[in-house]
Assembly symmetry: C2
Homo-oligomer: 175 residues x 2
DNA sequence: GCATAAGCTGAATGTGAGATTCCGGTTAGT
DNA sequence: ACTAACCGGAATCTCACATTCAGCTTATGC
C-alpha cells in the first residue's frame, strides 16, 4: 500500500472517530471526508460503504477498550479501576459508534467484543462491591448501565463534575 | 367542531405523545397517523404541518410540568419534592419532544415555559440543599442537568432502580 | 329520512439529504 | 520518466418522509 494511501486511511478513521464522538448520530460521508481533508471518493476506496467504515472503527474502539479494561482487572481498589475504565470508555466513541450501526453487524466480532468487555466490567464491579466501595444493592450488570448513562452524554469525562456526581450514586448510601 | 373530529384530534395528540416518548427522535407523520388509527391527511386537517403538531404537544407537556412543579414548591422535605418533579418529568415526553423541534420555535411560549420550569426546579434544589439532603457542591443549575441525564434515558421512571441510583449521586457524600 | 357541510382516506407527488459512482487528473515508487 | 495506485468531487441514484388532493363517508340540523 502506498504511503499516502496509508496516511489517508488513518486520517479517515480518526476523522470518523472524532465526528462520531461529537455529533454522535448523523455523521455523513461528506462530513467525514471534509474533516479528513480528502474527497468522498477516497472513503470508498478504503471502505466498501458507510457501514463498513463505521463497523471498522467500532471494532477498533472495542478492541482498545477491551485491552484497557483487561489491564484494570485485579487492581485495588476496584472502585478506582472502575473510574479508569470509565475514562477509557469516554475517550472512545464506543456507545456513539455502536449506536450508528443498526441491525445485524457484518462483523461478528462486534457483539463478542462487547460481551467480553461487559463481563470484565461486571467482574470489576463485583470486586468493588466486595471491597465495600459499591452499593450492595446494585447488580454488577446494572453498573454497566449506569456507566453507560454517565458516558453517553456528549463530551462526558470521568473527571468532570457532572459525571462524578452520577457515578457517586453507585457508592454505598451514607445511612 | 364535529364530535368525531374532536375525538380524532385527541387520538392524534396522544399518539404523538406516546411515540415521541418511546421512539424519541424520528417520529414520522405516517407513524403517528397509524398509531392514532387515522389517515395522514387527518393530521393535516388539524395541524398545519409537522412542526405545528410537535410544538403543540410540547407546549401542552411543558404547561403540565410547570403546573406540577409549581405544586411542589415549598413542600418539605424538598428532596422528596424533587423526586416527585422527576416523576412528572418522566411522565411527559418533555425532553424528547423538545429535541424534535430544532431551530426557532414558532410558539414563543416554548422557551418561556422552559425557563420558568428550570427556575422553579433550581429553587426546590436550593431548598433541598438548605435542608442538607443535597450535596452542597452541586449548583442548583447542575441539578437540572443531572435530572435530565436521569430522565432522558428511554423509559425512565423515578421509582426504577437505575434512576434512583443516578439521583442518589446528588445526595451529600457519606464522608 | 335527507341534505350537506365537515371530515376522512391514502395513493400520488414533491423534496431534500445523503450515499455511491466514476472518469479525468495526480502521485508515489521504481 | 513511467505507470500502477490513488485521489477529487461533480453528477447521479436512493430513499425516507412531508405534504397535497380528488373522491368517498358520516355527523348533524331540519
Amino acid at each position: 500500500m502506498r504511503a499516502d494511501a496509508r496516511r489517508n486511511r488513518s486520517a479517515i478513521t480518526s476523522a470518523a472517530i472524532r465526528l462520531a464522538g461529537e455529533r454522535g448520530e448523523a455523521v455523513s460521508m461528506e462530513d467525514i471526508a471534509r474533516e479528513a481533508g480528502v474527497g468522498v471518493g477516497t472513503l470508498y476506496r478504503h471502505f466498501s460503504d458507510r457501514r463498513a467504515l463505521l463497523e471498522d472503527i467500532a471494532v477498533d474502539a472495542l478492541r482498545e477498550l477491551l485491552e484497557a479494561t483487561r489491564a484494570e482487572v485485579g487492581h485495588t481498589p476496584a472502585w478506582e479501576a472502575l473510574l479508569r475504565v470509565v475514562d477509557h470508555s469516554v475517550a472512545l466513541p464506543l456507545a456513539l459508534t455502536k449506536a450508528l450501526i443498526t441491525g445485524e453487524p457484518d462483523r461478528p466480532e462486534l457483539p463478542e467484543l462487547e460481551a467480553e468487555v461487559h463481563a470484565l466490567i461486571a467482574g470489576i464491579a463485583a470486586d468493588a462491591q466486595r471491597e465495600g466501595d459499591l452499593r450492595a444493592d446494585v447488580p454488577p450488570t446494572e453498573v454497566v448501565r449506569v456507566l453507560n448513562v454517565a458516558v453517553c452524554r456528549r463530551g462526558a469525562r470521568a473527571d468532570d463534575h457532572l459525571t462524578r456526581v452520577v457515578l457517586d450514586g453507585l457508592r454505598p448510601p451514607k445511612n
